[in-house]
């Protein structure tokens, strides 16, 4: 009996030894490097032509590539296109990178570029269509060369192919599984490939070793949707996440004091603005009244109170990194309450004679309701009576903003995803989308915008756009208050500066 038992015991011990050895090896094989980011919203899917939110593009930009890509300084760099050249007014040649493979191993070719750009340029039901309909056709020259034909001269084609909505998707995959399959199981050429998506919980990506830039330093990239501010702060402080976006400004000091984490700010293209109804008979019809309103607002104080100083006062819809935005209007505060009172008197209004209605959203932009409340106090200071209406976004949009039902002043926050100064003005012409809200129509302004829209002479275009901005600054159908800084909580274990386009480009993030 004992003869039989001994070999069994030895075998059991041997097996145990093997298991232990295996465990030790696995443990010492270096833990997976995971980067975790906490966002406020989840993605609605992986269709890059159909979501419209910067916060969503910040995630999916890691899975896809564009033809050209903006680096951390905002300069356009080669990506899937290694070179470009303007052939004539309506045609651009793009040379495509060779040896690029999709996440499923298939080669990237010109066919994919044609498929992607023509889809977003032609399908009217797509969210991003509006920004790409200027592309008429993508002509394949050979597997690594395309000609992009535009419907009119397009001075910002390079901006177009390097922004959200211009992601290149694989024709062969979508033809096989359709957008229904692709939206939940994407294939791209980006540095990370799809692993899983649990709606409203997390997006999990893993490193794609055959990416054309090289394998990323992170093995896994996880984006978590954490809508509550306090919870997001908690996740950063416990080290469960490495980056937490939309960081509340009131938690900055506490976070920095906690150690191990920091909060960094980065200018965004979003500007908080006031729109005026200039129709006859309205309180804001007189341009002197509108000027008085702007002079009554101390924009530095506004930024201090509403955003804890994380913002820059501006006098037009301009911000760094936006092409052809006249930066003379950046970081300017023309606060002059005495002059405001004078102007009101010139317009025939003594203290207490004028009542202005302020309307705005609450909870749509950081500090939006507070902004309107502070503006109200500042207007009261120069003798203007005010009424205040701060509505939840869907109510504000359906009853006031979207319904073209602005009484006097409406608050709004506007970004610039095309990084183009012309884009900042495109809603203001006599037939623009704001015309029925502002009731402002200036044919000279319209002419300048029309001329600039297709002007390939970039210097002349810049001058036309600047003149247009000057007209807006003088006549004030809208005034700009301040540019919003994004606050991001960052672990001290990583090396990263937030980008001006708010993309979370994990390839550039380095562990310390």
């Amino acid at each position: 009996m004992s003869e039989v038992r001994q070999p069994q015991r030895r075998t059991v011990l041997q097996r145990l030894a093997v298991v232990l050895l295996g465990l030790v090896l696995v443990a010492s094989a270096g833990a997976q490097r995971t980067l975790t980011v906490a966002q406020t919203v989840d993605i609605p899917g992986f269709d890059p032509h159909n979501h419209g939110l910067t916060a969503v593009e910040a995630v999916i930009t890691n899975v896809f590539d564009y033809l050209l890509f903006r680096d951390a300084n905002g300069d356009i760099q080669p990506a899937l296109a290694t070179g470009y050249e303007q052939v004539d007014d309506l045609t651009w040649r793009f040379t495509l990178r060779e040896d690029v493979v999709w996440h499923d191993g298939e080669p990237f070719t010109a066919e994919d570029v044609k498929f992607s750009l023509e889809r977003v340029a032609r399908d009217e039901s797509l969210f991003e269509h509006d920004s790409f309909q200027q592309i008429a056709e993508v002509e394949i020259v050979n597997d690594h060369e395309v000609l992009i034909h535009t419907s009119g001269p397009d001075p910002v084609l390079l901006n177009r192919v390097s922004r959200k909505g211009a992601d290149i998707v694989p024709a062969h995959v979508i033809e096989a599984v359709g957008w229904e399959g692709f939206s939940v199981n994407p294939v791209g050429t980006g540095p990370f490939r799809f692993v899983e998506w649990v709606r409203d919980d997390r997006v999990v990506l893993e490193a794609f070793p055959d990416h054309w830039r090289g394998a990323p330093v992170w093995d896994r990239l996880v984006f978590r949707a954490v809508p509550e501010d306090a919870t997001r702060v908690g996740e950063l402080l416990t080290g469960n996440v490495d980056i937490a976006v939309n960081y509340p400004s009131q938690d900055v000091d506490r976070t920095r004091a906690a150690g191990g984490v920091d909060v960094v700010s980065q200018p965004t293209t979003r500007i908080m603005m006031l729109l005026f109804n200039t129709a006859d008979g309205k309180a804001t019809a007189d341009p002197r009244v509108r000027e008085a309103v702007e002079l009554a607002i101390d924009k530095d104080l506004l930024v201090e109170v509403v955003a804890d100083g994380f913002g820059v006062p501006v006098e037009a819809r301009v911000s760094p990194g936006v092409d052809m935005a006249p930066m003379k209007y950046y970081n300017r505060n023309a606060y002059d309450p005495e002059r405001a009172v004078e102007l009101l008197a010139e317009a025939g209004y003594g203290p207490g004679d004028l009542t202005i209605a302020l309307q705005g959203p609450a909870g749509r932009y950081p500090g939006d309701a507070d902004t309107l409340a502070v503006v109200q106090v500042m207007l009261n200071e120069v003798g203007v009576n005010t009424t205040l209406e701060s509505l939840e976004w869907s109510a504000y949009n359906s009853r006031i903003w979207g319904a073209d039902n602005v009484e006097n002043i409406a608050l709004i926050g506007l970004a610039n995803s095309l990084f183009d100064g012309w884009f900042a003005l495109r809603a203001l012409p006599c037939d623009g989308s704001y015309a029925k809200r502002t009731n402002w129509c200036n044919p000279e302004f319209d002419q300048l915008l029309t001329d600039a829209e297709f002007n390939l002479d970039l210097d002349e275009r810049a001058r036309q756009i600047e003149t247009a901005f000057d007209i807006v600054a003088q006549e004030r159908p809208m005034i700009a208050l301040f540019q919003i800084d994004a606050l991001v909580g960052v672990s001290n274990d990583i090396e990263w500066q937030p980008r001006p386009d708010e993309m979370i480009w994990a390839f550039d993030i380095q562990p310390k």
């Binding site: 609605p44 269709d47 159909n50 509006d130 939206s183 416990t238 949009n397 359906s398 709004i412 809603a427």
Partner: protein, 306 residues
């Protein structure tokens, strides 16, 4: 019994239709989802195109007819936000998370309310009664939102005993379940207490005690059983509420349940999703009510269903 069940099942259909119709009309009167979805400076052309592609440019009764015709075939429509994705999938995907949270919260609520309620009833107006009542009241008075954040602060951040948020295993369920369960426990505890007191003061209980029946048998078989009818009724109502989504708790703990889905969909007027969630919630409420009614028959032998 089968006839009863069949009748109840059939009754659900007109109720569902009524609910669906009311929600349909309310949603379409609430505002324009297209303008909500598009950026602030979308062109008029873009707005018109999107409205047409979503079928929102048709008269409301036409839209309703189309919706019902599709619903009967099992087609729940298209989500504005989750393009090219099946609405049923999106909503049903949330069920496991919602069930987990609902189940765990109920467990917490029962584990707190039963012992505290029994303790209170057996020690009427003495210290244990006053203490349990105070604890229960506290649970009811403190807002969910605040309790959740406080628990995160102490147990998630300071002590790091539990994950701060998200759904990642049993440990992540604890804090949200306690947040939800604590407030339910108060009401339930009072029900146990009053139900038991009602019975324990009766003559036949004194007789049973005098006869020498074990106190435990008396308490459970007579006292507790009497309290159970009201208890189970409220429990059923609470379950229905939980399944419809513990919105605030899910928001605070980033829990991927139906509550968050519903709120997002309502805020963006994503009609197909709101309608689907309402249908699901209605079915759950009706089934929960049915379950409660059936449980009565188990508890109270006087109740029988034809």
């Amino acid at each position: 019994m089968l006839a009863y069940l069949a009748r109840r099942a059939l009754q659900m259909l007109p109720i569902l239709l009524g609910v669906v119709t009311i929600i349909f009309v309310l949603l379409r009167l609430s505002g324009d989802p297209v303008r909500l979805y598009l950026p602030e400076d979308a062109s008029e052309q873009q707005v018109a195109q999107m409205r047409a592609s979503l079928g929102l440019d048709r008269p409301i009764h036409v839209q309703y007819g189309i919706y019902i015709a599709r619903l009967v075939k099992g087609d729940l429509g298209e989500s504005i936000r989750y393009r090219n994705q099946d609405v049923a999938d999106i909503v049903l995907e949330r069920l496991p998370a919602t069930l987990e949270l609902a189940g765990a919260s109920l467990l917490v609520a029962i584990l707190i309310s039963l012992p505290l309620g029994i303790l209170a009833a057996l020690n009427r107006n003495r210290l244990p009664d006053l203490l349990s009542s105070a604890v229960a009241m506290l649970g009811r008075a403190m807002p969910n939102f605040w309790v959740g954040i406080m628990l995160i602060l102490f147990f998630g951040i300071r002590l790091e005993w539990f994950p701060v948020s998200g759904r990642s295993g049993v440990a992540s369920l604890v804090l949200p379940a306690v947040t939800l369960g604590a407030s339910m426990a108060a009401l339930l505890m009072r029900l146990v207490r009053s139900g038991m007191l009602e019975v324990l003061s009766q003559d036949y209980v004194r007789t049973a005690k005098a006869k020498g029946l074990p106190w435990r048998t008396v308490v459970v078989k007579h006292g507790l059983r009497n309290a159970l009818i009201a208890y189970v009724t409220v429990l059923g109502l609470e379950i229905a509420g939980l399944m419809a989504g513990a919105v605030i708790t899910e928001q605070v703990f980033a829990w991927p349940g139906i509550g968050r889905l519903a709120i997002q969909a309502i805020n963006s007027l994503d009609m197909a999703i709101v309608q689907a969630v309402v249908i699901l919630a209605s079915v759950v409420v009706m089934v929960a009510n049915l379950a409660v009614d059936l449980t009565y028959a188990l508890i109270d032998p006087r109740i029988r269903y034809a």
